[in-house]
């Protein structure tokens, strides 16, 4: 079991934050004791529990933790994506390329305007939409500083969305962030998933993504593009100052 001082989230959320990862072999006694100890030092705790540890759900509930989402991890082995003629027409209408500096500024404005609001923070009534946007903003800067490639999607010359790709080693790439811009929501354009093709062109062998079950439409879209689920975590949170 790991209890990390999530300084990256503290900066965005304004409260001392811990990110707790429960392992397969952690006993209920160990989990309970570590969480009680962490609660004394942190105001916000996010606990990641493998779905294979359903036995610990009851303990987390007893300790006052709230279930907020399942995070599903999906992989793509970069096989050719089969598209219907209609999907191919739609796919061809969206251009994917690396972001330039001006594009990055546009993306940051879109984030700050609250365009990406599916994460557990934006859905938490104890956090503001601004805090959620700040978190997304910091996360993007962090991905960039770790060498992520930022790609933009354009429809008829207008930036319609973006995604990040980062080489995590051994030919495995992750795409931690991405989304469709506000103006292009409710257009169907989100069906276009070109990430596996880009990773293949970069010489990768596998692409890994994580999608929240609070964003079922994205799960449906990526499954349609040939991603398959490999594991999932239940995510529980606790605001210690509210619980007391």
């Amino acid at each position: 079991m790991k209890v990390l001082n999530a300084t990256w989230d503290e900066e965005s959320l304004g409260v001392r934050t811990a990110e707790v990862s429960i392992g397969q072999g952690d006993s209920l006694e160990e989990i309970g004791s570590a969480l009680r100890e962490a609660e004394a030092s942190y105001r916000y705790l996010a606990v990641k529990l493998p779905t294979t540890r359903a036995d610990a759900c009851f303990l987390l509930s007893e300790l006052g933790y709230t279930f907020v989402e399942d995070m599903v991890f999906l992989e793509h082995d970069l096989h050719e994506i089969r598209r219907t003629p209609l999907e191919q027409r739609f796919y061809d209408s969206v251009k994917i390329e690396r972001m330039q500096n001006g594009d990055f500024e546009e993306l940051l404005s879109e984030i700050d305007a609250g365009s990406f609001s599916f994460d557990r923070v934006s859905l938490d009534p104890y956090f503001s939409k601004e805090a959620s946007a700040r978190r997304f903003h910091h996360w993007l800067m962090d991905e960039k500083s770790r060498g992520a490639i930022l790609m933009k999607a354009s429809y008829k010359g207008q930036m319609s969305g973006f995604f990040t790709i980062r080489d995590t080693g051994d030919g495995v790439y992750s795409s931690a962030l991405g989304g469709t811009f506000m103006k292009f929501r409710h257009t169907g354009i989100g069906i276009n998933n070109q990430t596996p093709e880009i990773v293949k062109r970069l010489g990768g062998r596998k692409l890994v993504i994580g999608v929240s079950t609070n964003n079922m439409s994205q799960i449906r879209a990526v499954v349609r593009s040939g991603f398959f689920p490999v594991r999932a975590n239940h995510v529980y949170i606790k605001h210690t100052d509210i619980a007391k």
Partner: protein, 91 residues
Amino acid sequence: MPEAFRHESRKKSMTNKEKYINCFTQALEVPAEGVEKLEYQGVESWDSVGHMSLVAALEDAFGIQMDTDDIVDLSSFEKGIAIMKKYGVEI
């Protein structure tokens, strides 16, 4: 009469409005009741995947090929009626 043939002849005898409603109910798996007020993401099934199924159903039912601009603009049942007019289909 074989079932497939009966189904085809039933489809042929439908009005455009019936065919149009049918596209929504079949593609998005929603009841006909209230379909006229339907908007993108007004129901869980009308997401980007559902949108593709809906457009495919409309193209098939009316023998048309929609421009991508029209696919992007199809944001409600009502809006779709105006889009269909561009293809000579009166609902």
